[in-house]
Symmetry: C2
Subunit: 202 residues, 2 copies
Amino acid sequence: MTRPRAARGEGDQLREQLIEATTALLAETGDERAVTIRAIVDAVGVTPPSLYLHFPTKQDLVREVVDRRFAALGQAIGQAVAEPAERGDAAEALRAGCLAYLRWAHDDPGGYQVLFGARRETRSVGPDGSSNTAAFTSLKEGIGFCQATGVGRDGDVTRMATLVWASLHGLATLVPTRPEFGWPPLETMVDELIAGLVGIGR
Amino acid sequence: MTRPRAARGEGDQLREQLIEATTALLAETGDERAVTIRAIVDAVGVTPPSLYLHFPTKQDLVREVVDRRFAALGQAIGQAVAEPAERGDAAEALRAGCLAYLRWAHDDPGGYQVLFGARRETRSVGPDGSSNTAAFTSLKEGIGFCQATGVGRDGDVTRMATLVWASLHGLATLVPTRPEFGWPPLETMVDELIAGLVGIGR
DNA sequence: ACCTGAACACCGTTCAAGT
DNA sequence: ACCTGAACACCGTTCAAGT
């Protein structure tokens, strides 16, 4: 994009440009194979070795991009949950959080499973402290909130959250990859999931 | 493996050897990046161009391997379902089928999500007629069988099957990739899933 | 008819060198 | 201090040639 590019004293804004270019490339193509080092540096207007001044390996660049997108997911869920949670509607908070998760996967231009695949390759270093487990934590809170306010059936919160999480994850990977399958509306699926697994609304 | 290898009039058994070598390589490494053309042909004791006598592209080889593994999954489910179905135990048949699906993903040396990832790259040609949708069909039958014999709650069979399928798929991809997560036993999760989503056994 | 040697255009990564 | 040119060992794939 910014083809003619020359730098001098400016610090590490190249690092930020590389992250942006990688994010954009993933969003435009939706294909991890298209995210090649030469494509990334071409977009910024720089040569391959420059990338290694800022990232020890391609995986670390991708990891950073993926981490940021998962952080955005966490924010989206938090935002959706906030309003109903504040007025004490536990059922609606849970519903809204689950829906935000699915909508994010559905609308994500980079592709939820592309990110997930990248995260898989990337997982060797350290425990999985990604915002995806943050989503799991907020899911447990949501279910606990429901039980505390008397909506939903009693039961092991972690157990329930595990099944809801797995179901949401399954839908998040399947829905975007198989648009030709006759999926019910996301709202309907979320309602039936939390009705069956958490016992909310019948 | 079979390093010294010379052929003459024998037809297309090289094709079969290439498929076997690819399957073995996937099973041993569990890493799709390790499945390289040179590694495959080395295992058979042949040079890269020979592969293209039998497969137009690497994707077609992988597709064949993946198709066979999904067919094996279909067989495993059919086998698990057969006995309870014959004695008319619809609930147990459904339970056994779901469990077989999860066990297969859990025990699969090639890695369920590696296969699933490969299938994703491979999906461009034709409709998705894989045995994975065959598994979905048999899931619908299982739920329909339950309703016909009076176990489980009434409701749209396809809708129910969709949610169970998504849940199983989510578990199938998550459980093997996160062994450190404290998963409940597969039996427990299947029981709670079909209890909540199909209304069987409470 | 079946297989190989050598090459193609790519890839991620490194190293010496330029300013 | 920041960036480049040129090369490394790989990759999937092709093409002419050998028996």
